[in-house]
């Protein structure tokens, strides 16, 4: 009796979770079926696994190019954000002067500004800046990375600053006495201690930048520059009729996220919790 009492609630919970994730099951199974089979019964398992829709979705979405673009943009933006935000946050937390108060204040205050409020002037400014300097800022991946650094600055500095304020200054002072200059003190002593916050910043920025749609859709116009969300949006704009193909496309776009989640599940949940509570 006791074991039955233990099994039933567990089984019910698992059943509920599976039902909760039913939309994933639906796009997965229907992506293998042909049209007639799909409309016959959308919940049934596919009778034979045909990969034809995957092939066409892959080529129509230009998937390989898109995933490389998404990876490059996400990785480089985050690497630069981690470096620059931790440096700024450390100086601002340790040097108590008016400038530090101003820098921290303006970074936190502008976190209030929703993206829609500055999207249009930003695009105008960036294309003007690009023309004036003779470089490509709009419709270029480096240009988009530049913008992500600006938009990620507030949250990054805010998270790092909170953590730095909580660690004792004595180690840094000892390093200075031992003859480390500011640069060395930061990279050899301080930065390694910031690892928990670095993980949080990385996780939150991955979720944000990888999934971001509006900003890249405004700047990246040429086909060769498309990221995954943009390819998905273009795909749905053009081929709304063929749902099987669309479902195959969705499955493909979810695979990288699924791999990321399986690999760093623990860090992701911790990072998201830390980010929400402090933000």
């Amino acid at each position: 009796m006791k074991t039955v009492k233990k099994i039933i609630p567990n089984a019910l919970l698992m059943l509920f979770c599976l039902l909760y994730l039913l939309p994933f099951y639906m796009i997965l199974t229907n992506s293998f079926k042909n049209r007639a089979e799909m409309y016959e019964d959308m919940m049934a398992l596919p009778k034979n696994f045909s990969l034809q829709y995957y092939e066409s979705a892959l080529s129509k979405m230009n998937f390989v190019t898109s995933i490389i673009n998404s990876l490059v943009i996400t990785l480089i933006s985050i690497a630069i954000l981690v470096i620059l935000c931790s440096m700024t946050a450390w100086v601002v937390a340790r040097v108590k002067n008016k400038m530090s108060v101003f820098i921290f204040g303006i970074l936190v205050a502008t976190m209030l500004i929703p993206f829609q409020t500055i999207m249009m002037p930003l695009m105008i400014e960036m294309s003007w800046l690009g023309e004036t300097l003779g470089i490509q800022i709009t419709d270029s991946i480096p240009g988009l990375i530049f913008m992500y650094i600006g938009f990620g600055a507030g949250m990054g500095v805010f998270l790092y600053n909170g953590f730095i304020s909580s660690i004792p200054i004595s180690l840094e002072e000892a390093a200075t006495i031992d003859g480390c200059n500011t640069w060395k003190t930061f990279w050899k002593i301080v930065f390694p201690m910031l690892k928990p916050t670095t993980m949080t910043v990385i996780i939150l920025d991955v979720i944000w930048i990888w999934n971001d749609y509006l900003l890249p859709s405004l700047t990246l116009k040429s086909k060769a520059n498309r990221t995954i969300p943009i390819s998905a949006a273009k795909f749905f704009g053009q081929y709304t009729i063929s749902w099987n193909e669309a479902m195959a496309a969705l499955v493909i776009t979810i695979i990288p996220v699924a791999i990321f989640y399986l690999c760093c599940q623990k860090y992701i949940i911790k990072g998201v919790a830390a980010g929400a509570v402090k933000g």
Partner: protein
């Protein structure tokens, strides 16, 4: 670290701050200026200064007012639904059930997938799947489209607020729970008299997180309904986007964008003041 030369200070802060100024601060100032002009976005056409006319016009723009009211209704429904579902999830996965950890992992999954892809996934559910069940296409009816938006938002964000509530529940000291059970409190009494009052800080965090997130909804709106049918599911953000890039009313659209900012700012400032007050009293 009292002494740091100006050179080091600049080296550590300038790269980030310059980028930040160019990407966030300058456009914000330009944006305020552009909200006072009439302009179609073409550089060969002149901007005409119209003062506060754009801001006045907003109040007689029916499509905009409808979308503002709709966004408010959607936000209120979503905030309630996301928090109720998320809190229930958190209470379930913090029990001693063996599958609790697996459940937590599974329920969090939708949050990782961006709003755009989620919108497309559910679009197939609400259109083709619902038709095959005989429920009709929900996305072509304005009330059902709104419900669909709330369902997708809940599905996406419940796992997220669950994580915050779990952190809150874990922080409740064990002796408090033990004392409650020694005193003979049953499940419901413990929940309402002990757990929920102690969860108030998490509750404030989640409430405002969902409030500002839902108010800013864009991706799900674009992917799921695309403002349709006939702009009857167009939310605030999408209305701004369409005004600027679809109708080419750059100045007028920017005035809406500034109003949007003011609303978000007020919501967030209320949140900050409430959180501060609570910290003092605790």
């Amino acid at each position: 670290m009292k002494k740091m030369s100006k050179g080091w200070y600049a080296l550590f802060t300038l790269p980030l701050m310059l980028t930040f100024a160019l990407v966030v601060c300058v456009p914000f100032v330009i944006g305020i200026a552009l909200s006072f002009v009439e302009w179609d976005g073409l550089s060969k056409h002149e901007m005409v200064f119209v003062g506060f006319q754009n801001y006045v016009e907003v109040f007689s723009d029916e499509r905009f007012l409808n979308s503002a009211v709709r966004t408010t209704i959607y936000t209120l429904l979503s905030v309630v639904s996301v928090n109720v579902v998320g809190l229930i999830f958190a209470l379930i996965v913090t029990t001693k059930l063996k599958t609790a950890n697996v459940a937590r992992t599974m329920l969090f999954v939708p949050y990782l997938i961006g709003g755009l892809i989620l919108g497309f996934i559910w679009k197939s559910v609400f259109s083709d799947f619902f038709i095959s069940l005989g429920l009709g296409n929900w996305l072509t009816d304005k009330t059902n489209a709104m419900i669909a938006m709330v369902i997708v938002t809940t599905w996406q964000m419940a796992g997220y607020v669950m994580i915050v509530y779990i952190t809150g529940i874990m922080a409740i000291p064990d002796d408090v729970m033990e004392a409650a059970s020694v005193d003979g409190a049953n499940f419901l009494t413990t929940l309402f008299k002990v757990k929920l009052p102690l969860l108030m800080p998490s509750f404030t965090i989640c409430l405002f997180l969902t409030l500002s997130n839902c108010f800013k909804v864009y991706d799900v709106n674009v992917a799921l309904t695309g403002a349709g049918p006939n702009y009857q599911s167009e939310m605030f953000s999408l209305n701004i986007y369409n005004e600027i890039y679809d109708l080419s009313n750059f100045g007028y659209g920017q005035a809406k964008a500034i109003i949007f900012f003011l609303i978000i700012a007020v919501i967030t400032l209320i949140q900050v003041s409430i959180t501060k007050k609570r910290e003092v009293s605790m």
